[in-house]
Amino acid sequence: MMPAPAMALRVEKVAVHFGGLVALSDMNFTVGEGEIVSLIGPNGAGKTTAFNVVTGFLDPTRGAVSYRGTALNGLKPYQIADLGLARTFQRTSVFPNDTVYDNLLVGLHRQGRVNLLEAILGLPRARSSERRLRERASELVEWVGLERRARDLAGSLSYGEQRLVGVALALAAEPSMLLLDEPVSGMNASETHTFVELVRNIRDRGVTILLVEHDMPMVMSVSDRIVVLNYGRIIAEGPPDVIRNDPAVIEAYLGQGATRA
């Protein structure tokens, strides 16, 4: 038995209400350092809402989130980013009118903060910082495998490629934990396969990962642990093999599939 990893993210008793709608109720889960945890559930289950709470885009109605022991309540998104939590978005993931490379330069914002006066005067410190950023941007482009697209406008890329830009943008912040919201939607099978390799590679570099995804084969193959949400409640939690056979989970998905058909 391996010792349990140190705690990275802790979500405690989080509830989110939108008017009368309960998007999340009494949500509790944790993610250990270096783990790949997936958050799954039918459409509207509250997965993106949970991401928004963790990354400071939404204040929970109740409950608390902490990362590496620091309470995140009331912190702004950029302050949470500074603590090492980065995310991608389900829908909007790029700066469409900039090249992929320039996207990353924007993404490297927190690393490139130099005194504005030095930047305007082009002083050596600003120039060398700029050089470092450019090197780093190239590295990131390479990391996610978009070298050939670096000079193209991000808005002209395929959806799959845009998702990769989104991931690279999140990685630009040098996060210790990465939250991915449906990263492979819009990707074909081979792109998805490459992406799984990328996720493992990111984790191997010491980044904890929380993944939201509908692609079940992908989730099953990449996750250490899975948390299942339905109607804002956690209905199951455990390793892929257990979740696969959990009656409540099957019921949640089948039930939803049946109403939709």
Partner: protein
């Protein structure tokens, strides 16, 4: 290539006084230059952060009044029997104070409105300009109200080895305005190409994403407003010391509109845009005046404005740049939002 054009443009402008002797045209060029500086400052906000300041002339006017009052001196009574007596200081100090005070006002206006932004910012800036105009009109003891501040001294600059030089002639003022315009252009260019400029771009293109990569919205926008207002204040100061008379009419809404038109026709978000748009709308009156009644001139401006935007909807500079640039991958409309993973795949 770009910098070659820039250098050629500066050389061309610098050579104008060598062949142009007409004082009326020189005057038009100087005031146009001053307004172009104002338009460049407006473009920093409108073109690079997407925020429309419809009271931009307030910062210009504040710069003009601050600079004029600093160099003229004043003696005003305050409530509770206090008085402020200020002896005249050199105009160059006024120039610096104009930048500082206008920048400070930009800070306040930005702070007030950037928490909500958009239409709110437009309204706050319009109201701000109107309030400042009313103060200038009614605080007669300080500003002389509608009687105007007159006899504002010309700017004196200390040249190393040459002693002091007071810029009285059109020729001298022309070069002063050209120099400030070039510095402003370089400043804005450096700014938008710095990490700060990228933060502004990021915010304009995709705010949610920008926030998530750690860009502080309020701070970025407020800083842009401060710099923009400061530059407008500098332009106002140049105006005051060149025209040498300032009245509350300087705050007229039409002056803001003129700057907005300059920016939009030239191309917002392009560095050279306000210069091109500014030259057109700054000099148009000069050419229309001999052949048209004033009312007809306004109609002509409108016609030119609509004509330009009809043919070159993104403004002159960006449209031409696009036409002459080597063909690049066309940007498809941003449809990232239009597709939903719901449609794409369910539990595979």
């Amino acid at each position: 290539m770009k910098s070659a054009i820039a250098i050629l443009t500066v050389v061309a402008f610098a050579s104008v006084p060598l062949w142009l002797r007409d004082p009326y045209l020189m005057n038009a060029l100087i005031t146009t230059g001053i307004f172009i500086i104002g338009a460049m400052s407006l473009n920093l906000l409108l073109g690079f952060t997407g925020q429309l300041s419809l009271g931009h002339i307030a910062f210009f006017g504040i710069g003009a009044y601050v600079s004029a009052l600093t160099s003229l001196g004043f003696d005003v009574g305050l409530p509770f029997g206090f008085r402020i007596v200020h002896d005249p200081w050199p105009p160059i100090v006024g120039f610096v104070l104009a930048i500082v005070v206008a920048g400070l006002c930009g800070y306040l206006v930005g702070l007030l409105s950037f928490r909500v932004r958009g239409a709110y910012f437009v309204i706050v800036t319009i109201s701000f300009a109107e309030v400042v105009r009313l103060v200038a009109l009614n605080w007669v003891e300080l500003t002389q109200g509608p009687l105007a501040l007159t006899n504002i001294p010309s700017i004196t600059i200390g040249l190393p080895g040459l002693g002091d030089l007071t810029l009285r002639t059109k020729l001298q003022n022309y070069y002063l305005v050209l120099a400030v315009a070039v510095v402003t252009y370089l400043l804005i260019s450096r700014l938008v190409h710095s990490h700060f400029g990228r933060a502004m771009r990021g915010l304009m293109e995709n705010e949610t994403l920008a926030v998530s990569v750690g860009i502080d919205v309020t701070k970025t926008l407020t800083l842009a407003a401060v710099i923009s207002a400061g530059i407008a204040g500098a332009a106002g100061s140049l105006y005051a010391h060149y025209i040498r008379i300032i009245d509350p009419e300087v705050f007229a809404f039409i002056n803001t509109v003129t700057m907005v038109i300059m920016v939009i026709t030239g191309g917002k978000g392009s560095l050279a845009g306000p210069v091109v748009g500014g030259m057109i709308f700054g000099l148009l009156p000069v050419f229309l005046r001999p052949i048209m009644a004033p009312e007809a001139q306004w109609i002509a401006y409108g016609g030119v404005l609509i004509g330009i935007l009809f043919v070159l909807p993104r403004g002159i500079v960006p449209s031409l740049a696009l036409r002459f640039a080597k063909p690049r991958k066309r940007i498809e409309p941003v449809t990232a939002v239009a597709f939903s993973e719901r449609d794409v795949k369910e539990h595979a």
